[in-house]
Each structure stands twice: as structure tokens, then as C-alpha cells.
């Protein structure tokens, strides 16, 4: 069958086209995951209140007043740098994968103001959290200090934090401001029961965050490396799907989870099909004792309780996605092997194979050049049909707690939802999306696989 007629037949199958459409949708999400979300699925924690609802819930009257938080990073190139005093050179540097803004202060007085302006979308904040890592390196006479301030839409300035004078030669510092912190309250002139967040972020509008770096005139040269700053006003609602129990973005987990589902499903099915095809061809073509051994092995593998044995082996080999892939593949090759074997048995008797044998072709040559190309179309269909079961098994294993906890898989999302109270909170926006995603992706492959089988399997065409 030519590719053209195959494509024509495929296009006529409605289920096949629907399956292809769904698959395409997920492939797009998998490829563009980093563009579709600005958060890391697991590393960016506390983006909003624990188990915050999706932001679009505010269209419902009941949640209209829910606090819309805001959470973002300010990377090195997003600062507006203004030199107030001295000749300061700026440069971008990369250290261990993170971008840094480097400011080189020569000898003498120096003063730089970094500004980042952003639109604060919500009403009165309940909490704000700001974090920054910076490194300061200076010659022995260096003497520099940093201070942080926030300017509200009315132009009023709040200075919640100021570093001490840095004097040592090299230092890496991490400053974090939490509005509930007593030091912050004191710096803003509030009492112990004062609310720093309420004082600063009173209404929506343009706020600017400022970092002022100052160096005394008698100080020597100083270099300051400024890392990524995080700014969070945790809201009661967040993003497309809300956040989980750690405040991680659920939409990012869903989007990146697509990558893992496709990767695991495709690679497990691929390994299983390669193994199954090889065993099937050898078993069918060579026959005899080898055939008996291989088919009995397939029988044994088919008669083990799959999920229990996967659980025990997953516990034994450790939680990593590649272990999961290999375990699933090891228990999935038998169907393909049987199918290929029966195909090989009928191909073996065909004239072109007999002709090759008569011409003195070796067994390996015939298996590789004559049998293999002829079983390939059906092998391809069985590959597609193995993918959904690989996806289902992987998600089940993850859900039961045998997945790699450092990967944002859909099964892990559901496991967290069950373990950390999504059910008691009726957080359906956390439970439904990963489950529906697994279902739709598996269904897409079933639809495509069935269509391929109908087109490629000669038995179907006779009907």
C-alpha cells in the first residue's frame, strides 16, 4: 500500500482523525510547556495560599472578592539600572545556570538605583514575601550596603529592609522579606500587631521595587552580583488551575506532565515492540525448540499478576521514570511477539521467502530483509495500541506512590490530591484535569491504533 492511499483511507476515518486531533493538542502543549507557563512545576513553591483556587473563579459571584495574588521573578535583565553617582559598569553573567546582573563599582563613591515597576492587580494584600540572592566581592577596603524599598502608586516610599555594611572580601547573601516578620514591621514603623502587607499594598496600581546600592567615598572597588528576585503576594486564587498543597502551580504541573506522559508512554511501548518483534520473528521463523522456549516464556509473563509484580519491582529498583519505563516494557512485549510470530509463520511459506532460501540467503538475512519489512505495518499499529496501556500503567504506579516524586507526572498530581486533602476541600479543579488528561491522551492513541489496525490488517480488509 502506498503512503498516499494509506493517508487517504486514514482521513476517511472519523475516529482516527479525532484521535489525531487530540494527540496533536497534547503534543503542542508538551512542546510549548515553557511558553505556556512561567512557573517551574515543582520548584516554585508558595505562589499563593495553600490549595488556592484558579484565578478565573472570580467570575463567580461567590468568589468575586477573593484576593488575586501576584507572584513573579525579576531576572537580571528586567531591572532598570540608574547610576546616581560614580562610574559604574554593568554586565550580565551566568553562574550555574542562573543569570546574574553584575555591577562593578570603581574606587570612590558610588550609588546605583535598580528599579522594577509592575502592575499590582489586587486589593489589599494580606502577606507579601520577597527574596533575593546576591554576592558581594570587594577588596579589603571595600565598604558597600544595599537597601530595598517599595514605592506605591501615590509615590509614598516604604523601606522594609537594609543590609548591614558589607566589609568582608567575599560574601553570598540571601535576603528575604516576609511582611509578618517583626523586623519588617519595625522597619516600617509598625507595632507588633501592625500589618505590613496592608500598609504597603493597599490598592491595585503601579508599584515599583527599588534596590539602592551605596558605597562610601573612601571604599575600594566592589563587585555586586544580583540574582533572581522573587516577589509574591500570595492570593486566594492563582493562575489557570490554582496551586497544590505546597503552593506550586498546578497548570505548570499539568503542562509539563504532558511531556512525561508522552515520553514514558512512547518509550515504554517502543522498547516493548522492538523486543516483541524480535522475539516474534525469531520464534516464528526459526521454530522448533527456540520457538517453544520463547512462547512458553511469553505465556509465563502473561500469567503473572501485572500490577502487584510491577509494584514490588518498582519498590525494589527505586523510583525513577526510566525504571518505570523498563518495567512496563518488560511486561508488555508478549502480545506483539505472538502477533508477529503468527504473521511470520504465514510469511515463511510464501514464495518470495522460499525463493530467497533457495538462492542461499542466510536465516538472519531473510528475517531482517524479508520478514521484518512485511510485519512492520502491523507492528506499527500494535505500537500505537501499546502506548495507552503504558500511559495507564505509569499513571497508576505514580498514583500508588511508586513514581519519581521529582517529576511532575499526572499520576503524582493525583496522588498529591488524594494525600493532601483535595477531596475534603472538594478541589475538583485539582483532581479533574490530570485524570481527564490521562483519559484523553490514552483515548487518542486507542482511536488512532484501531484505525491503523483497520487499514493495515489484511483480515479487516476482507470484511
Amino acid at each position: 500500500m502506498t503512503f498516499r492511499s494509506f493517508a487517504k483511507q486514514y482521513r476517511q476515518s472519523r475516529p482516527g482523525m479525532v484521535g489525531l486531533g487530540i494527540l496533536l493538542f497534547f503534543v503542542v502543549i508538551a512542546i510549548f510547556a515553557p511558553l505556556l507557563t512561567s512557573y517551574d512545576p515543582l520548584k516554585d513553591m508558595n505562589l499563593a495560599n495553600r490549595m488556592a483556587m484558579p484565578a478565573w473563579f472570580r467570575i463567580f459571584p461567590k468568589y468575586r472578592d477573593a484576593l488575586q495574588g501576584t507572584a513573579f521573578h525579576i531576572t537580571a535583565d528586567e531591572w532598570d539600572v540608574k547610576t546616581i553617582e560614580g562610574e559604574i559598569e554593568t554586565a550580565f553573567s551566568e553562574q550555574e545556570g542562573d543569570d546574574y546582573l553584575q555591577l562593578n563599582f570603581p574606587e570612590g563613591a558610588g550609588k546605583v538605583l535598580l528599579t522594577h515597576t509592575f502592575g499590582y492587580p489586587s486589593d489589599t494584600a494580606t502577606v507579601f514575601e520577597i527574596g533575593l540572592i546576591y554576592g558581594i566581592s570587594q577588596l579589603d577596603s571595600g565598604n558597600a550596603a544595599l537597601s530595598f524599598s517599595i514605592v506605591d502608586p501615590n509615590g509614598k516610599t516604604y523601606s522594609p529592609w537594609k543590609s548591614q555594611n558589607h566589609r568582608s572580601t567575599m560574601e553570598v547573601r540571601k535576603f528575604s522579606i516576609d511582611s509578618r516578620d517583626m523586623r519588617v514591621k519595625t522597619a516600617l514603623g509598625l507595632g507588633p500587631f501592625g500589618d505590613a502587607a496592608k500598609t504597603v499594598f493597599t490598592s491595585s496600581g503601579e508599584y515599583s521595587l527599588n534596590i539602592l546600592m551605596e558605597k562610601t567615598p573612601e571604599s575600594g572597588p566592589v563587585t555586586i552580583d544580583l540574582g533572581k528576585m522573587t516577589f509574591v503576594v500570595p492570593g486566594e486564587v492563582h493562575g489557570v488551575l490554582g496551586v497544590d498543597h505546597l503552593g506550586c502551580d498546578l497548570w505548570s504541573q499539568l503542562a509539563y506532565g504532558t511531556r512525561f506522559a508522552l515520553l514514558i508512554g512512547l518509550s515504554a511501548a517502543f522498547i516493548a515492540v522492538v523486543v516483541g518483534t524480535t522475539i516474534g520473528i525469531i520464534s516464528g521463523y526459526v521454530g522448533g525448540f527456540i520457538d517453544e522456549i520463547l512462547m512458553r516464556l511469553a505465556d509465563i509473563m502473561l500469567s503473572v499478576p501485572l500490577l502487584p509484580i510491577l509494584i514490588i519491582l518498582a519498590a525494589f529498583f527505586g523510583k525513577s521514570i526510566w525504571n518505570t519505563v523498563i518495567l512496563i516494557a518488560v511486561f508488555a512485549w508478549m502480545g506483539t511477539a505472538r502477533m508477529v510470530r503468527s504473521q511470520t509463520l504465514s510469511l515463511r511459506e510464501q514464495t518470495f521467502v522460499e525463493a530467497a532460501r533457495a538462492a542461499g540467503a542466510s536465516q538472519t538475512y531473510i528475517m531482517w530483509h524479508h520478514i521484518m519489512p512485511n510485519v512492520l505495518p502491523l507492528v506499527f499499529a500494535s505500537l500505537v495500541l501499546l502506548i495507552p496501556s503504558a500511559i495507564l500503567f505509569e499513571s497508576t504506579l505514580s498514583f500508588l506512590g511508586f513514581g519519581d516524586p521529582s517529576t511532575p507526572t499526572w499520576g503524582n498530581m493525583l496522588q498529591n490530591a488524594q494525600n493532601f486533602g483535595a477531596f475534603t476541600r472538594l478541589a475538583w479543579w485539582w483532581i479533574l484535569p490530570p485524570g481527564l488528561a490521562i483519559t484523553l491522551l490514552a483515548m487518542a492513541f486507542v482511536l488512532i491504533g484501531n484505525t491503523l489496525n483497520e487499514i493495515l490488517d489484511p483480515r479487516h480488509q476482507e470484511r
Partner: protein, 326 residues
């Protein structure tokens, strides 16, 4: 004669598989993280208990002897002592077994009846709603993860509308009197059994529909129609009877998957059965418990496969009287 040889062959296969299961158990639970002795004894055992376990498993003897002692113990269902409770694993499993049997028995029976009826309706009325429903539910059965469907039912009927209990097999404290107790047990059984029924029925319906459609195209059906028999009679007495043998075989073939799936269902509904026991034992590195539960599940699988083979041999005349076939 042919049939006896067939049976003997199947029995030999079953014995070989049993040998593999036993060896797998011995190997994997000896090399599990921790030292080999550590998979049978735990630090929270008393010295006397450790001594007892060491003697029972011949831990001072060479590995070869340990293997035979181990096999002998497993064949007697002696699995050692649970690390968690220090009770014999055998007793703990025996307590949980009735729960698993109740859940799996009820749901398997219900899903078969429901699925087969759906399949017959679908085949009898091609192009009807019943047929589309059957094909749709069959497709869903292959793509919805069992655990997700169960989570949805739990979310809907135990949390959102709290009609059914969230967990367990009975209320604590259980109600008094036979009748209230029965109602309470059924109330707890309903949601897990319903979820397994829905999942199982889809594939039964799809299979029955396909087999019935093929059967209804056969010549003898045409003959029956020509004789003027009632359509109902043709459907049940002729067509359905002809697909009964594969259905019986399929029933036994479906058991391994059902038994294995108990792990998921029991953990979601906190159903104290063997599957949940295996899962928590594996997660807690409670090796004696895990190997005991796994051995029992593997054995059940093995037996249902063997019975499926024998049933197939019984109903397939080619094997029974030895004509054709292999």
C-alpha cells in the same frame, strides 16, 4: 486420551510457573534493600522472635538449604511475622481475604451480568443507542484509568453528596443486630463494587456485542429465522448459547487482572483487603507481609489461568476429542 494429555501439559506448565513464582519470591525478597536477614527479621522484634524466625527459615544454613526451607514454608503458607504488628502474616492475610473476596466477587458477577446484557442488546439492535453506548463504554474502559474513575465516584458520592461512606468495610462502632449490620456492610460495599462493575462491564459488553454480531451472521441463525422462530428465542437459545464457551473462558482469563486491580481499588476506598495489605507492606518495607500477599495473589492468578485453560479444553471440541488443532 488427547484431552488427558492436554490437561497434563497444562498442569506441568502451572507447576513450572509456580516454581518461577517461588524462586522470584525467594530472590527478590532476599536482595531487597537491607541485608538478607533484614528482610525476615526487623529491629523491633524481640530476641526470642528473631531466634524463632532464624530457626524457621534456617538462616544459619547455606543459601541452597534456605531456598528449600523457604519453598516448604511458602507451600504451607508460613510467611513469617509482620514487621509492623509482629503477628504472623498468615493470620493477617486470612483476616483480610474475606473482604477481598466479597468485593471482587460482587463486582465481577455484577459487571458480567450487566456487560453481557448490554452486549446482547447492542448486537440485537445494530445502530441503536444501546450499541453506541456499548462501543463508547468499551472505549472508555480502555482509556479511563481505574483509579481516576474511582476517585471521581469518591469525590461525587462520598465527599460532595455524602451518600456513601468514605472508607472501610463497616461503621465504627458497627451497628447491632443482624439486619442493620447487613445494611451497613452493603452501604460500605456499594461504592467500590459499583466502580469495579462500571469498569468491568464496558469490556464485557464490547466483547459480547462483537461475538454476538458474528454469531448472528451464521447460517444456522438464518435457518432458525427461516423456520419462523421468535427473535428472542433465536437470540438467547441459538446465538447466545454459541458464544457461551468463550465467555466462560474469558471469565477465568479476566480474573488475574481483576485480582491485580484489587490493589488500586482497595487503597482508594481504604478497603482492608489483601491488595491494600500488599501495597502498604511494600511501601513500608514490611517484607514478610509483602511476600506473603504477593505469593497469595500470584497463586490465585496461576489457579485462575489453569482453570481457564481447563475450561477452554472442556468446551472446545477440537481439544476434547482431539480432532485437528495442534
Amino acid at each position: 486420551m488427547h484431552f488427558i494429555r492436554y490437561i497434563l501439559k497444562r498442569l506441568v506448565y502451572a507447576a513450572i510457573i509456580l516454581f518461577f513464582i517461588l524462586s522470584f519470591n525467594f530472590l527478590i525478597f532476599r536482595v531487597m534493600p537491607g541485608n538478607p536477614v533484614g528482610t525476615l527479621q526487623s529491629p523491633n522484634m524481640t530476641p526470642e522472635m528473631k531466634q524463632l524466625v532464624a530457626e524457621q527459615y534456617g538462616l544459619d544454613k547455606p543459601l541452597k538449604d534456605q531456598y528449600f526451607i523457604y519453598i516448604k514454608n511458602l507451600l504451607k503458607f508460613e510467611f513469617g511475622y509482620s514487621f509492623q504488628t509482629r503477628r504472623p502474616v498468615k493470620d493477617e492475610i486470612l483476616e483480610r481475604l474475606p473482604n477481598t473476596l466479597l468485593l471482587l466477587g460482587t463486582s465481577t458477577l455484577l459487571s458480567m451480568i450487566l456487560g453481557i446484557l448490554m452486549g446482547i442488546f447492542a448486537a440485537a439492535r445494530r445502530g441503536s443507542v444501546a450499541e453506541h453506548l456499548t462501543i463508547g463504554s468499551g472505549l472508555l474502559a480502555y482509556s479511563v484509568p481505574t483509579f481516576f474513575l474511582q476517585l471521581l465516584l469518591l469525590l461525587a458520592f462520598a465527599f460532595f453528596w455524602p451518600i456513601f461512606p468514605i472508607r472501610g468495610t463497616m461503621s465504627i462502632p458497627p451497628p447491632t443486630g443482624f439486619f442493620p449490620l447487613l445494611v451497613d456492610r452493603l452501604h460500605h460495599l456499594a461504592l467500590p463494587a459499583l466502580s469495579l462493575t462500571i469498569i468491568g462491564a464496558g469490556s464485557w459488553a464490547l466483547y459480547t456485542r462483537n461475538a454476538m454480531s458474528d454469531a448472528l451472521c451464521q447460517d444456522y441463525i438464518l435457518t432458525a429465522k427461516a423456520k419462523g422462530l421468535a427473535p428472542r428465542r433465536i437470540l438467547y437459545h441459538h446465538a447466545f448459547r454459541s458464544i457461551l464457551p468463550p465467555i466462560v473462558t474469558l471469565f477465568f482469563l479476566s480474573l488475574p487482572g481483576i485480582i491485580g486491580g484489587a490493589v488500586v481499588t482497595e487503597s482508594i476506598f481504604s478497603w482492608p483487603g489483601v491488595g491494600r495489605y500488599l501495597l502498604s507492606a511494600t511501601l513500608e518495607a514490611n517484607y514478610p507481609a509483602a511476600q506473603g500477599a504477593f505469593y497469595l495473589i500470584a497463586l490465585a492468578t496461576l489457579i485462575s489461568n489453569l482453570v481457564a485453560d481447563l475450561a477452554y479444553g472442556l468446551v472446545d471440541p477440537r481439544i476434547r476429542v482431539g480432532q485437528g488443532g495442534h
